[in-house]
Every structure is written in C-alpha cells, then in structure tokens.
C-alpha cells in the first residue's frame, strides 16, 4: 500500500536526519514564501539541514500531513520531533527559543 510506504519513508527520513525540513521546492529554490522563510531562518542560524521537496512526490506531500496531523507545508523536524510550521518557527526564531531548542538537542548553530 502506498500510504504505508510513504509513512515508512517519512519515519526513516526523520530518524536519519537531525534537522529535516519538508518544504515546497528545494533549499536553493524554494517555491513558496513560507518554505523560503524557514530556509532563511535555518541558514541565518547556520544550521545544516536536509530539505525534502513535497512537490516532487504527491505521496509524501499527503503523507507528511497525515503523519504529523498538520495540514500545511513547511514542517520542521529536529531530532525526530515536529517543531512546527512557518509561523511557529518564525516566532521561536524571533524570541531566541529556536536556537535554544537546537542547542538543547545538540544541533550546532552559528555564533
């Protein structure tokens, strides 16, 4: 069944990548302003992350929404945990909380 496959692939990606962003487009060419905003934040913090383009795979695009019970893209995962979408990540970045969460989880940031 395709849905099982998508969920399995998502679980594997999330456990294999300490910082993982499901997004529209790629980190170099984001195709949505909200995805671009999160890429910009991670780049500003100097965080190494992997981006997965949901536009390239309809199964993953729907699968990730079911997985997290979250209806929108982008979605940021740190060390296997769903951190939030663009609004939450932006809010956490502005308050300095994001940097703290990353540090607490052992993810290197710049400065």
């Amino acid at each position: 069944m395709t849905t099982t496959t998508a969920a399995d692939r998502i679980k594997r990606e999330i456990s294999d990548n300490p910082v993982l962003l499901y997004m529209k487009g790629t980190p170099v060419f984001p195709q949505c302003g909200f995805s671009a905003r999160v890429v910009q934040i991670l780049t500003t913090l100097g965080v190494k992350f992997k981006g997965i383009d949901v536009l390239a795979d309809p199964d993953i695009r729907q699968g990730i929404k079911d997985f997290s019970n979250w209806p929108t893209i982008p979605q940021l995962y740190v060390k296997g945990e769903f951190v939030g979408g663009c609004d939450i990540v932006s809010e956490m970045f502005e308050s300095g909380e994001l940097k703290k969460v990353l540090a607490d989880k052992g993810v290197a940031t710049k400065g």
Binding site: W70, P71, T72, F82, V83, G85, I88
Partner: protein, 78 residues
C-alpha cells in the same frame, strides 16, 4: 475556492467558543490571511497543539480552500 474572513472566524469560533479572534488580510486575494487566536482552551498546550486545535476547527479547508493562514495563538492574560 477562497474563504472569506467571516467564514474563517465563524469556523474557529465553532471549535473554540471563547476565542478572541483577530483576522487580517496578508494579500488582497481573499486567500492569504493571518489570524491571532486567543483562547483559554490553549492553556497548558504546546504551540504545536494550539495550532492543531485551530486547524481542527477549520477541518479539511485548511490547505485546500484556505491556502494560507498565518497563525498566532495565545492564552488570555490573567
């Protein structure tokens, strides 16, 4: 396709009756909105859970008819 301001507010209110909702347009297309939702039901919940409660109120519309809703949630000040 798009959802108007009054419909968004009505849907959120139906799910979170005590909510104080402020909706603003992000673009002039009836499709990109920002909403601030303040509700006592958010108490003790993480931000992810708070947003999920609003999304639940909006049902399947979020990500479909409603393309973009920038959300800010919080609990009322004591």
């Amino acid at each position: 396709m798009a959802l108007d301001e009054a419909t968004i507010e009505k849907l959120i209110k139906a799910g979170l009756p005590d909510a104080r909702i402020t909706i603003a347009a992000l673009a002039d297309d009836n499709d990109h909105w920002s909403a601030q939702v303040i509700s006592a039901a958010f108490k003790g919940k993480s931000r992810v859970q708070q947003h999920q409660m609003v999304y639940r109120a909006l049902g399947t519309r979020m990500g479909n008819e409603l393309h973009a809703l920038a959300l800010q949630t919080g609990v009322p000040e004591e």
